[in-house]
Assembly symmetry: C2
Homo-oligomer: 413 residues x 2
């Protein structure tokens, strides 16, 4: 007898047939005696359909009204799933974000959850009902409908689990867990049984698309055990927890993440004065461009080179901003490259093991892969390399850090 | 400077283009200095699409959940219209039934409005905003989403107008007003400038589909001036008011309504005992069949004939119920006919004029149309005739009561 929050994304509820399958799954948990809160997204394609409709009226739709509109996507799904459960003799009731009262700030289209009123949910659970909650949405202090931004349903799931002190928050998706790296690149990639919040955060921020970063942060903050599972296959999935001690043989590196979405920009011959980093990044930030890695080497002849990465979509824009800055501060030139890739090794184990970075660099050197940028954190080392070497680098590192599975995984059924 | 509630139905907001046209219309009223509350339905076809989706899950969808689902139709429209208004520089804000707080009872799919909180609406109007409210929906005491049943958006409009003490509630539709009878049957039919609530109620209950009966009742009860107008043509429409004195030359008959949806059933040779009417209609009512006209003649040889009409869809069912009853009470036989039509003359003027019914009967007799049943109210006389004579009867009565227009109307633009 546990209290479980289960979140099903848009693909898992994309058709009536899939909603019926989800209902079957929930029914089994109920028959086990578990109390269940289900969080669902809009049926896949629905949010895009609604946004397209809004854009027919206004290319820049009014932010408040857009939330009124797109929140209907989840509202349809909760009703359908509650119907499917009731049809099966499983008492169920649907709740919109407003009905639960998932209180958010008023940042329409990208609101943040402030507080969840758990009273109605607890009363429904006590009455023996499955509660089906609309993901992605909430309501502000004034009663305006808000949405949490793309992928916000994961966050809703975790926030509900935290508010209800659930035993587990299960995120159902189209993969059967979190892998040591992308199996499409490395066939020997393994599903991890367990990973820490910190590692998952690094994996997610580095391009592993299994979970939304915000939801992992949230889960870590409130210590909500999070499990990634396949919607329509059996299996234990991957458990994401705080507890890094439990497993005795923690590997040094848990996984290898990578990302091809970035581009790098370098401003050369920058006069080495105090405040110059702000002069360079201030205008970039003012143009709403997010910066990922930043590298500045020690000065040489009183000038220095300053390099950073941005999303590829922002490259042209960032380049133009930087040209201006270069003129203003008297830098020599601006150069850039979009054909780069970032590869990162992630693992809480590296905290207590020296030499992890050097083993990474050695392994890349063996393959004659040149490293363009390096950045490190407590549990991560990232390098930027030429894009064409990406697959080679990931496979080499996967082997070097002993992550390879004996045979091809993913056929567990 | 007036406060006007404007209601646009599903066809009037059926496409993005039409929503833009509605926004233009609302903008003009705002530029006139009027305060505007707009009530909209779901885009035409949307409610049916949602119901079909629900029926894929369950042929008898859970009533509460069906309301959660179909209420999204209006929610999409309010957002789109508010966007279209804001785009035009007309400050506008959308409100769901729950956000206004249109409090209803908990009769899902057919809820009735209990109370409307006008505070938020008044604040928005005071701040210079057009308020776009979702028709057809409300919320019960427990916070469950409810819908008012088909056509409920008219009722929402009238209820809001009553709560706000609006100067007028304008119902925009696909006809340019209320006609003396159906122009498809009588080309000389005239648009009425004015009609009383009572007359409109009789016209509506007799098959004139311009307005929903509940909304007319509501408007009459709270004395909300109601105007029927064409969504996309200019024109004064038809005003529906309490005030029957204002117009000096009130015609005796305002209009002629008709209805082909009914069937008649007769139970013959019923022993003429007290309580027999209940014995006949009790089981019909228990089978959820609604009865319209009821006629019982004086007894003859201690037996009587009892005739009533039901909706044609209920004919088979009612016939079976009646066969049972006939056996139980010892009646002679059950006969029936679906090929009937009901024709009614309606007008508050007939209260003070004798001979209206006889003029009607005379006019039908001249055309050799046999009258099968008669029923009367203070402002209406209805007859049932053979269906094939319907058009003939309506045209004859339209002429006899001097309702014909000099020429074909409807080309006022």
């Amino acid at each position: 007898m546990a209290l479980i929050v289960q979140k099903f994304g848009g693909t898992s509820v994309g058709t009536v047939e899939r909603i019926e399958q989800v209902a079957e799954k929930v029914k089994k948990f109920r028959e086990n005696g578990d109390d269940i809160v289900v969080v669902v997204s809009a049926m896949s394609g629905e949010t895009n359909r609604l946004i397209a409709l809004a854009k027919q009226i206004d290319e820049q739709p009014h932010a408040r009204e857009l939330d009124v509109m797109i929140s209907t996507g989840e509202q349809v799904t909760i009703a359908l799933l509650a119907m499917a459960l009731n049809k099966r003799g499983v008492p169920a009731v649907s709740y919109t974000g407003n009905q639960v009262r998932i209180l958010t700030d008023s940042a329409f289209n990208k609101a943040r959850i402030l507080q969840i009123d758990d009273r109605k949910l607890r009363a429904e659970l006590k009455a023996g009902r499955v509660v089906v909650v609309a993901g992605f949405q909430g309501v502000d202090e004034q009663g305006n409908i808000t949405t949490l931004g793309r992928g916000g349903s994961d966050t809703t799931g975790v926030a509900l689990a935290a508010a209800l002190k659930a035993d587990e928050c299960q995120i159902y998706t189209d993969v059967d867990g979190v892998y040591t790296t992308d199996p499409r690149v490395v066939p020997q990639a393994r599903r991890m049984d367990k990973i820490t919040f910190e590692e998952m955060l690094e994996m997610a921020s580095l391009g592993s698309k299994v979970l939304q970063i915000r939801s992992v942060e949230f889960a870590g903050k409130y210590n909500v055990p999070l499990r990634v599972l396949h919607s329509f296959q059996e299996g234990p999935g991957t458990l994401i927890t705080l507890d890094e001690e439990e497993s005795m043989e923690q590997p040094i590196i848990s996984g290898i993440a990578f990302n091809r979405d970035e581009a790098k920009l370098t401003i050369r011959g920058v006069p080495d004065n105090p405040g110059v980093a702000f002069k360079i990044l201030g205008p970039i930030s003012a143009a709403n461009i997010e910066v990922d890695m930043i590298v500045q080497n020690v000065a040489h002849d009183n000038t220095t080179d300053f390099t950073f990465t941005v999303h590829r979509n922002d490259y042209q824009n960032a380049h133009a901003v930087l040209e201006n800055t270069a003129r203003e501060i008297g830098a020599r030139e601006v150069v850039g490259d979009v054909k780069i890739a970032k590869v990162s090794i992630v693992g809480v184990g590296m905290r207590s093991h020296a030499g992890v970075a050097s083993r990474m660099f050695e392994s890349l050197a063996k393959e004659s892969i040149n490293i363009q940028m390096i950045s490190t954190s407590e549990i991560k080392v990232s390098v930027v390399i030429e894009e064409k070497y990406l697959e080679l680098a990931v496979r080499a590192l996967h082997t070097a850090f002993e992550l390879d599975a004996p045979s091809r995984p993913g056929n567990e059924e």
